[in-house]
Amino acid sequence: MKKYFANIIEVIKSFLKEVGEISYFAGRFFKEFLFPPYEFKEFLRQCYYIGNRSLFLVGVTGFIIGLVFTLQSRPTLQEFGAVSWMASMVSVSIIREIGPIITALICAGRIGSGIGAELGSMKVTEQIDAMEVSGTNPFKYLVITRILATTLMLPLLVIFGDVLAIYGSYLVENIKDNVSFQLYFNQVFNILEYSDVVPATLKTFFFGFAIGLIGCYKGYNCKKGTAGVGKAANAAVVYTSMLLFIIDFIAVFITNIFYKM
């Protein structure tokens, strides 16, 4: 029994230590990202790379979510004779919640793990040391560029995913009820208020930041050996997913406080 408790305390301790280290890593990002030298070219390369790697996946997933979500909700709405509310319901739930969180989770798997594996293998094969010796600050060149790129690209990817999800939903309505494109999208935009769009967009910046931060942290602190690289990539996904839900919860909580007043 005593051993059991000791174990739990160990786990909590190492978790808190990790949280501390990640905060320190984030602190270093904020301390250094404003000052030159700026690695602008590498930043653009990362933006392109992130978009290129996830655009297709985010698009297809968004589209299918839109289709499925509409098909699944139809019977219930029909029961209440509220099918005409479909566009509004889809719009609000996709924009507020489903679009951001699904896109972020996909990117955590696709981009976060990629960054973790890339930086991890660079660490293990001493490429990061080689950079440092070459007079380039590897934190600026590798970490800051990637965190900035994910922070900026995630909101764009979310918008792209949202649009395709709503389009998927429209296709269902168009096939089932012959709803016109114009009518459907009018309804979609009419229901939306600032309170739906602004907080939802703001939180996607935090999602992007979390994905870049954890991926870089895990890769940059990768343990020696090839097993370390796999672990870094895996841990990046697990930690990021957890963090995404925590951020989401906090964001919704804060939004509710603001708009109830």
Binding site: M122, Q127, V133, S134, G135, T136
Partner: protein, 249 residues
């Protein structure tokens, strides 16, 4: 002593200590490298050879002890001064450490982008890249990616990348480890020819006895965190100490 008194020391390490957690790696290590000399450091795997040369170039911070490179104390320098000093020190990493995502040309250009003090602003890097590649006999590999290169070629390109800054000192971390015997011999010959061409001083870390024999002016054995014994290859080879003998069997 085999120290040639006519040549000035270019690197001096005094009483270096480094501990990771409870793992005492370096425990009062001393070393002197004279100008133009090839100094071989041998030691078992995990004995702290890499840690020692990483301290030398400021990648690891020692717990105590002093390291002076070209009369500058590494531990007391500002970042800018360290970067400047690093242009005089080439470092060949154990696994070559080429940047996977960059072509050979970009790999060689990388050290030039920030180390601008030494050459001024360079408009066209191509002549420098080609010159460095020619020194290692691989001028035609300029547009290849690292994953298209064999182990021996990677080592040569990595060497070219350190040569591009025309350093006065080259640190080799196990330059022949992981290579077949023939390629190892080629790399050793290359190291010799580079020393003649660029007139460098070198510290070579290895546990390859053939490599040590071929290149060492002087040797140090790193055992139990200290420089256990120093001397020429022949002197150490003739030693009766079983700990020393173990390296030469």
């Amino acid at each position: 002593m085999t120290n040639d008194s006519s040549k000035a020391p270019i690197i001096v390490i005094k009483d270096l200590h480094k501990t990771f957690g409870t793992n005492k790696v370096l425990d009062g290590f001393n070393l002197v490298l004279n100008e133009g000399e090839n100094l071989v450091v041998m030691g078992k795997s995990g004995s702290g050879k890499s840690v020692m040369i990483k301290c030398l170039i400021g990648l690891e911070t020692p717990d105590s002890g002093t390291i002076s490179v070209m009369n500058k104390e590494i531990n007391t320098l500002e970042q800018v001064a360290i970067d400047e000093l690093r242009t005089e020190i080439g470092f060949l990493f154990q696994g070559s450490a080429l940047y996977d995502s960059m072509s050979v040309r970009e790999n060689l250009e990388f050290p030039l982008r920030r180390h601008t003090k030494k050459f001024g602003k360079i408009k066209d890097t191509t002549p420098l890249v080609i010159e460095a590649l020619e020194s290692v006999g691989l001028a035609n590999a300029i547009n290849l990616m690292p994953n298209e290169l064999s182990g021996g070629m990677k080592r040569r390109i990595a060497l070219a990348r350190t040569l591009i800054l025309k350093p006065k000192i080259i640190l080799y971390d196990e330059p022949t480890t992981g290579l077949d015997p023939i390629t190892s011999k080629e790399i050793i010959l290359l190291m010799k020819s580079i020393q003649e061409k660029y007139n460098t001083s070198s510290i070579i870390i290895t546990h390859d006895v053939d490599c040590a024999k071929a290149i060492a002016n002087r040797m140090i054995l790193l055992i139990d965190g200290i420089n256990y014994i120093e001397g020429t290859f022949e002197e150490l080879n003739a030693s009766n100490d079983p700990k020393v003998q173990a390296f030469f069997k």
